[in-house]
């Protein structure tokens, strides 16, 4: 296997008695876009700062292209960092901001001018070169910070919640822009976010952080469809977790007896061993509501507790006597008044088993 661009090996970081990162190992390939996703305080920024050289790990090592870099100060690490608040130099013009890393590397004047211009064009702010950061909007400042972090073609680009301060529309635009740049320039990007939809949109792989460890690492699809733990299932998107006991395992399918007494068929993940206590995860958009189960393998007779109009879908709350469910229902099919009896049905392929 090729040498990873970045390797974290058994990284530990403690502040006094508080262990913020706990024996974390992670390889990041060249050209990969990886997101560190987790709730606030889970250690994402700390890991990024260890990588950038602003914090030193209490234990473990960091490698860049096979060379250990723990001892290198930040200015010798060749990493472009985009901070959450942009951290532009307020006393320099946009052009000078972008020229800064090139000046630090002794690039010739004429070449600097040309590369600054190219970087500005790349983020579509060519007209702003003589402005000061304070004269730009948040989104424009964000792009300048991006241009400044990319202009010197660093080995890795680190971004710490770079879009957190932008409004929704701009954020989505920037997500696509960054993703495009990543693909066009073949950048290796480590992207910190606490926004799961952002991570799903942008990443090649997502590392889900919880209390200083990585709960799961995988492609957005793997993380969303096959969460390894309850934490991941609940943190990524919305899901229904139903308690049950595995009755039988047959090849790649299993039968689970739910607490309410009914049985459902599920995909047999690694967690499904006979008589194991498990949680079955079913995404709200995978559940169908109707008078009967139709062709779908699993059915639960339920009562509508509440139904909320959400524009593109109806959010229906159900109760089958033992469990509550959330269902995202197509709003064109039918309205579901409170108290109505309904059959909630779903495919065995949409049921994922997690050890409880």
């Amino acid at each position: 296997m090729a040498i990873p661009r970045i390797r974290f090996d058994q990284i530990t970081k403690s502040y006094g008695s508080l262990r913020v990162i706990d024996g974390l190992s992670l390889d990041i390939a060249k050209g990969e876009f990886i997101s560190l996703l987790g709730p606030s305080g889970s250690g994402k920024t700390t890991l990024l700062m260890i990588l950038a050289g602003f914090e030193s790990a209490t234990g473990g090592g960091v490698w860049l292209d096979g060379k250990r870099i723990d001892h290198l100060p930040p200015y010798r690490r060749d990493m472009g960092v985009v901070f959450q608040n942009y951290a532009l130099f307020p006393h320099m013009t946009v052009a000078d901001n972008i020229a800064f890393p090139l000046q630090m590397r002794g690039v010739r004047k004429a070449e600097i001018a040309e590369r600054v211009k190219r970087a500005l064009d790349m983020v579509q702010l060519g007209a702003m070169s003589e402005r000061y950061p304070a004269q730009l909007s948040g989104g424009q400042q964000q792009r300048i910070a991006l241009a400044r972090a990319l202009v010197f073609e660093p080995a890795v680009v680190l971004m710490d919640e770079p879009l957190g301060a932008l409004d929704k529309q701009l954020r989505e635009q920037m997500q696509l822009d960054i993703r495009k740049l990543h693909m066009r320039l073949g950048l290796t990007v480590v992207f910190v976010t606490h926004d799961q939809s952002e991570a799903l949109t942008m990443s090649d792989r997502i590392a889900v952080f919880n209390k200083g460890i990585i709960e799961q690492i995988g492609t957005p699809r793997e993380i969303y469809d096959h969460p390894a733990t309850r934490f991941v299932a609940e943190f990524i998107g919305e899901t229904n977790l139903i308690e049950g006991t595995v009755e039988r395992v047959e090849a790649d399918m299993a039968t689970v007896r739910l607490a309410g007494g009914s049985e459902i068929r599920v995909q047999a993940g690694t967690a499904a061993t006979t008589s194991a206590k498990v949680l079955v995860s079913v995404r709200p958009e995978r559940i169908h509501l109707g008078p009967d189960a139709g062709e779908r393998g699993n059915a639960l007779r339920s009562t509508v507790v509440d139904s909320v109009y959400q524009g593109d879908h109806l959010r229906v709350q159900l109760d089958d006597g033992a469990h509550g469910f959330i269902v995202r229902s197509d709003r064109r099919t039918a309205e579901w008044p409170q108290g109505a009896a309904v059959v909630a049905s779903f495919q065995p392929e949409d049921c994922w088993v997690i050890a409880s």
Binding site: P74, L88, P90, P101, Y132
Partner: protein, 261 residues
């Protein structure tokens, strides 16, 4: 009612503060030989006296030399101290207090101590001695002023510079100091004003060759009450106002451009 009282009280306080200035300044333009009203006529003779009479002229030059020396020394040392005291430093509180001590220690006490020390060091009655003495009392102003503007600098901006390849020294040069410049500049203005106006320490450590303008005014007012004092005071105030105005204009310009406070 309360509002009126407030305004009246404020006006009274301002009046109390500036009435000595209003009283003395017109006398700078008297044509008479005494520092009294009524003025017999208007003339510039006392300004003329300031620049021609040897004692006055030398004292003005001395004040400028010592003021500039003090400004440079105090600004460099005070800025360095403020940089060192930045953030969490071991015993930082203690050091900070020490740097501010000259503000509260009685000048006479400092003066006596300095005189003894300077004689030992062989710098008594020298420009170096006076500049050193003035620097001690000017440093606190620089420390306070620079610390204030350092506090306003976002550390992430400096981190960004580091990550972009700047060594810590380059970061200081290209990012930290430029961003702290308003504080450094106003610290320098304050240091200059402190030196200009310092009398007590000067009495202790200066020899006859280092008579400053303030010192000269002090002895003149006791020997012969000449309107030259009023003219000197006028110069003082104009000089101070100009320095302050320059600082404000610079700050405004920068603010308009960069949005920095």
């Amino acid at each position: 009612m309360l509002k009126t009282l407030q305004v009246l009280f404020g006006a009274a306080a301002v009046f109390f503060l500036i009435v000595p200035l209003i009283a003395i300044l017109p006398l700078a333009f008297t044509s008479g030989a005494f520092l009294t009203y009524p003025m017999p006529g208007i003339s510039m003779r006392w300004f003329n006296e300031l620049v021609t009479a040897d004692a006055w002229r030398r004292s003005i030059v001395n004040s400028l030399v010592i003021g500039c020396g003090t400004t440079m020394l105090a600004t460099v040392l005070g800025t360095t101290a403020a940089l060192g005291l930045r953030g969490r430093v071991v015993l930082g509180g203690l050091f900070r207090t020490m740097f501010l001590l000259p503000m509260v220690v009685p000048a006479v006490v400092l003066g006596v101590g300095m005189q003894i020390l300077f004689v030992r060091l062989g710098v008594a009655n020298s420009y170096l001695g006076v500049i050193a003495a003035h620097t001690v009392v000017a440093i606190p102003f620089v420390v306070v002023s620079v610390s204030g503007s350092l506090e306003g600098i976002d550390r992430r901006v400096e981190r960004a510079a580091l990550s972009l390849g700047a060594s810590p020294f380059t970061v200081l040069q290209r990012v930290t100091l430029p961003l702290a410049m308003p504080g450094i500049a106003s610290g320098a203005v304050l240091a200059f004003a402190t030196s200009l106006d310092e009398v007590v320490l000067t009495l202790f450590v200066a020899g006859p060759n280092q008579r400053t303008l303030a010192r000269q005014m002090f002895s003149t007012i006791r020997e012969n009450i000449s309107p030259a004092i009023a003219a000197a005071a006028f110069l003082f105030i104009v000089g101070t106002l100009l320095a302050a105005a320059a600082a404000i204009v610079l700050k405004k310009q920068r603010q308009r451009r960069t949005g920095l406070a």
